[in-house]
Symmetry: C2
Subunit: 372 residues, 2 copies
């Protein structure tokens, strides 16, 4: 379905199957979508997954999430008020549903009405200056007053300042771990304040303690949920710059707050402006830039059965071998691979899916793939 339908809901059986599929080994959001589009449903994909992974050369049988495990996670989530929502369901941020790797099920908690309102992300250094804190507060407050929901990462520094200044108007915290594993621990109070009129979202299972690699992954949800991302103070190579890069890849507006060239906390934001981000000094700069975008209808991605791209049922062994031989540690684009393999696109895509499910393929930005 391509049109947002507020009454659209997965059945409980579908939701359990969706959760099982996304929690199974080597299934990320992109693979999830490929499988469901190919086999018509998550339940059918679960049946076929072990065979695909075996053909891809998995060293050991893929571990599938069991029905009992999925039911347990759904129950545990429900107990602390977390709903596991599919793209298109009420409470799933509409813009987030449009990114390539939107979580098939998103854990959402709090006042889910805010998820439907236009969001602006405000991110920045954890060790921000007093001026940075103050600017983030003023900006979050003023954008909140204009009706925007502030989305951020519940971190120390800029994130915290942005959430605090917008709790009254509704703000959304995006978590890198499970809903019951808040990081940093001292922000449990902040989260409680956020949840009063706003919400929190996570794609991770209950009980998941966030690791370093989960933060960049989480950052794509911050930028994806928003129509624009404001970076306030960011040093060279900081996490906020990853969020800005993802925002640009997702077609989101990127805004940066300038600072003195002699202030190392402004290096990242000044660089962003050099690279084309919009310099802002006040909320009005953001509002003027996003005004034309706000009312643009959100085009939701296709979800269930829809007739997918043509796939081949099982590629010939010689095709598979030729495609695998072309893959290596250096990322290569799908188009190049199809051309070099001289094989039908459907065959190449199926082999890549097999390899992915076997845990042998890595997907990169821009549709590039490499062997692990």
């Amino acid at each position: 379905m391509n049109i947002r339908d507020p009454d659209r809901r997965l059945s409980e059986a579908q939701r359990t199957d969706w959760l099982r599929l996304i929690r199974s080994d080597n299934v990320g959001p992109r693979t999830f979508r490929s499988l469901v589009n190919h086999f018509g449903s998550a339940s059918e994909a679960l049946v076929r997954l072990p065979d695909l992974a075996r053909r891809g050369g998995a060293s050991r049988p893929s571990r599938l999430c069991t029905e009992a495990e999925a039911r347990n996670e759904l129950a545990a989530a429900r107990r602390i008020g977390v709903s596991l929502l599919a793209p298109g369901e009420a409470g799933y941020p509409p813009h987030l549903a449009t990114i390539d790797d939107a979580p098939p099920l998103l854990g959402a908690r709090g006042n889910l009405d805010v998820m439907e309102r236009p969001m602006i992300a405000i991110v920045g250094s954890r060790n921000a200056s007093g001026a940075g804190h103050k600017f983030a507060q003023t900006l979050a407050h003023d954008l909140g007053d204009t009706g925007f929901v502030i989305v951020s990462g519940l971190a120390r520094g800029i994130d915290q300042a942005a959430h605090r200044a917008s709790v009254a108007r509704g703000t959304v915290a995006v978590l890198a771990g499970g809903h019951d594993r808040i990081y940093p621990l001292e922000h449990e109070d902040l989260l409680a304040a956020v949840l009063e009129s706003g919400g929190a979202i996570s794609e991770m299972p209950m009980g998941h303690v966030p690791r370093a690699r989960d933060f960049p992954r989480r950052n794509r949800l911050i930028s994806g949920a928003a129509i624009g991302v404001v970076v306030v103070e960011a040093a060279h190579r900081s996490g906020s710059l990853i969020t800005a890069r993802m925002a640009a890849e997702q077609g989101r507006e990127v805004f940066a707050v300038p600072g003195s060239p002699l202030d190392p906390r402004a290096t990242g934001t000044n660089d962003l402006i050099k690279q084309g981000a919009t310099l802002i000094t006040e909320a009005a700069d953001v509002i003027n830039a996003v005004r034309p975008i706000i009312r643009r209808p959100v085009d939701l991605p296709a979800e269930e059965p829809e007739p997918g791209e043509p796939w081949t049922e099982e590629p010939a062994a010689s095709d598979r071998a030729r495609i695998i031989a072309l893959l290596g540690p250096a990322p290569i684009g799908l188009d190049d691979l199809i051309r070099m393999a001289n094989a039908p696109p459907a065959v190449v895509r199926t082999v890549l899916l097999e390899l992915e499910l076997a845990g042998r393929l890595e997907r990169h930005g821009g549709g590039l793939v490499s062997m692990m």
Copy 2:
């Protein structure tokens, strides 16, 4: 002549006539060029000027600069080492010669070799912060090391810091008054240091004490001499922003140094970046931007006799009356005026010149004119 010729020099008689013409009432650089192009020489223009001004309705006879006055100024200039140079002559900054209202005679002093090298202007607040001073110093020093001559206005604050940091490599001070009327007075030492390996230029007569309105006029020479203008710290509505605007009108690159939105001294520079100026944080940003421009040959404007545009010798009284009736205090463009007057362009241009010499016409940027 359109091609730069290092051996090109005015004769002494020509230089005296040029000085007489530009020092006469109601003759600015644009009128000067119109008159010389029309009458073929400054000496002929001096003969015809009183009659043109009378036809334009001058309330009293135009005061012409006498030959004795011009000779005195040339001698006074020579005594303190100032040469009065025409565009195209050695020592006249080549880029400055390309602006619409380039001074027909420029007083230049010091090491005139630096005038031939590519220049970058550095301007900014008189009451700059310590960080602003430091940034201007580093930038001027690094650009000087790369071979650029730093041009600025000898003012307190950023100007001073930029000159000081580049005295060894050659820097150019552009004065708002005569060469013997240094402003501010306490910068006589700075000027002496500048002149050791660099130079100073002014279009004003010897003895002219700079008034407030002379500074914006001077600023067009700072931007005009440079291939790019860097604004370091500028508050809202500051003089440096006038220089930036002139730079943009002259087709020069405009660079601005960012600052915190909470720092009022960065309001002007952040605004410039919002309007399209290039954000810079180090000399390399400037160098990379101007590198493609540096070796572009400078196209000098036409100077003496060249067959000019066709002019009519004396417009009919009815034409003159109709054109004057169309003019008022609101600026109007030449093209609109020609269309509305339904008169040949040559007639309109001649009437405008008459009015200008009578002190009744004001010329604005973008070719607009109004009655005074």
